[in-house]
Amino acid sequence: MGLAAKRTENGNAIETDGLTKKFGTLIAVDDVSLKIAKGEIFGLLGPNGAGKTTLISMLVTMRRPTSGHATVNGHDIQKEAAGVRESIGIVFQDPSLDEELTAYENLELHAAMYKMDRKEAERRISEVIKMVELEDRLHHVVKTFSGGMRRRLEIARGLLHCPDVLFLDEPTIGLDPQTRQHIWSYIKRMQEEHGITIVITTHYMDEADLLCDRVAIIDHGKIIALDRNSALKDSLGGDILAIETPCSDKLREAFGKLEWVGEAKCHDGRLTLRVTKGEQRIPKLMEIARKKGIEVSSVSLHKPTLDDVFLYYTGKTIREEEASPNESLRARVASMRRSG
């Protein structure tokens, strides 16, 4: 009773406090404290090796934290691991199906391990398999499935036991654009129809942008920014307008006086301006230019993306981070293991 009451008045699906995981001298997750509200889609965004998967694996009770605390659905991840496991679903980054079994047998085994009632299991199996559009492959051995089909089956399996919190670790990695679209639409639907809390790790900016309500940017095990997508982007100071004109200096003088124009820079015959709500400002700016008799050959508007946010906070693009293989956590851990 006491616990249940506490859980309902506490609106957070996940809370972590100073969560840290070290592998020897390597700090994979560094003092992470965050709160994830019930029913939100929360993104952990960062390059490969940033510590996203390690963070998730602690939350799903697969690894023990070196220090710090966390609760998932009101259960302490260390003291109440069973409670955590019952309330979560997980889709791992790497495949975790039994390839020798059929889709049905995989789901049936999952249902049994989550102690689902037989009838309920049957009903849910047909429900989730329809959702991921694999009905016609239900009794085929998983070995014969394509990468995208396996991924969809894993998502179906993660949802089978109606978890309160679903963890998706890089759900669309290595998939073709069409399958990614499909998976995104399932994820959205799950949140809308069932109010499930969803935690996604991804290194795809577009994915985080499209799906997530809030995003935490994680780099070298630390959370360096956490907010709503729009707030993160706004924190950069607005949109960028690039104006091509032969007299960029003159134009800059004219626009620089406007109070809603932030930074204004000229280079290569182009004027770039930082403005909020760029699309609404263009007509006004053009009017001013016409009055001054300055010819403008083109205007382009660039809305900040999470890529820009990442660049802003880390000083690197996510690609640059990934290009340096020594940074990869897996590589680092593996090399440590090899050297003993």
Binding site: V60, T61, M62, R63, R64, A82, R85, E86, I88, I90, F92, D94, P95, S96, L97, D98, E99, E100, L101, E105, E108, L109, H110, A112, M113, Y114, K115, V141, R157
Partner: protein
């Protein structure tokens, strides 16, 4: 115990996987068949052991070999589960790891006993003198020792990262266990060092007990061999559970 249904399904998974890999069934019987058919009958023409045919002497030993290889292999399959990621699925499920070990041990033992029964049929076809009435107790014994060997396999697998170490286990653990067990030659006339080593080899007691049950010949009382096996069984299950519980995947 609320984990009975998960245990049943983990057991069933082992059986389904076994039934789908025909090559594994056939492959597991190949070497023992040639041992029995060629060495058994070949040596049988020049050797008699304990006033019986060499084939009769050897058949229980080969049966024990099938059970040993089949069980250890089943246990070591945990590594494959880890490589193919399925292990993670079981590790985060709300099922205790002990239950997973029990389900796997029972499943692996069942498949090993099926292989043992096939081998028993082959031995009888080759002319080994085995009474129908003795088969049932032998199957019961095979099941018990299979649980033991699968547990040893799981224990080993829990400490290995990938399948590369499997050959090492086969060559430096499983084969010596088989050769030292007295499956191929009587131990009471064997040189002293071999005899001493054979006493710490659980396979010795498996061969002795099976030989007692199937052909009525043994150098030790059945109570002693099965009692010692009981102790080995408990120890190996405990070891498997302990090591499997320590896996951090």
């Amino acid at each position: 115990m609320s984990d009975l249904i998960p245990i049943y399904h983990i057991w069933r998974r082992e059986l389904i996987r076994f039934s789908r890999s025909k090559s594994r069934i056939l492959g597991s019987l190949g070497m023992p068949f040639f041992f029995l058919a060629i060495i058994g009958t070949g040596l049988g023409s020049v050797v008699t052991v304990a006033n019986g045919s060499y084939l009769d002497f050897m058949a229980p030993g080969i049966l024990a070999m099938v059970v040993l290889f089949g069980s250890i292999f089943s246990g070591v399959l945990v590594i494959m589960d880890r490589q193919f990621g399925f292990l993670k699925e079981t590790m985060v499920a709300p099922v205790s790891r002990t239950s997973i070990v029990i389900g796997k041990a029972l499943g692996g033992a069942t498949t090993a006993v099926i292989q043992g029964m096939l081998m028993l049929g082959i031995a009888m076809l080759l002319g080994a003198h085995i009474e129908m009435a003795d088969i049932l107790p032998a199957i019961a014994l095979m099941f018990m020792v299979s649980v033991m060997f699968v547990s040893i396999g799981i224990a080993i697998a829990s400490t290995m990262e990938d399948m590369h170490g499997f050959q090492l286990v086969m060559n430096f653990l499983v084969m010596p266990m088989f050769f030292l067990s007295g499956a191929l030659f009587p131990l009471n006339t064997a040189p002293e060092p071999i005899r001493w080593l054979s006493y710490i080899d659980p396979m010795t007691y498996v061969v002795e007990a099976l030989r007692y049950l199937l052909v009525g010949y043994s150098t030790m009382p059945i109570g002693m061999s099965s009692g010692i096996l009981g102790i080995f069984l408990v120890l190996s299950v405990l070891l498997a559970t302990w090591l499997f519980n320590r896996i951090e995947s």
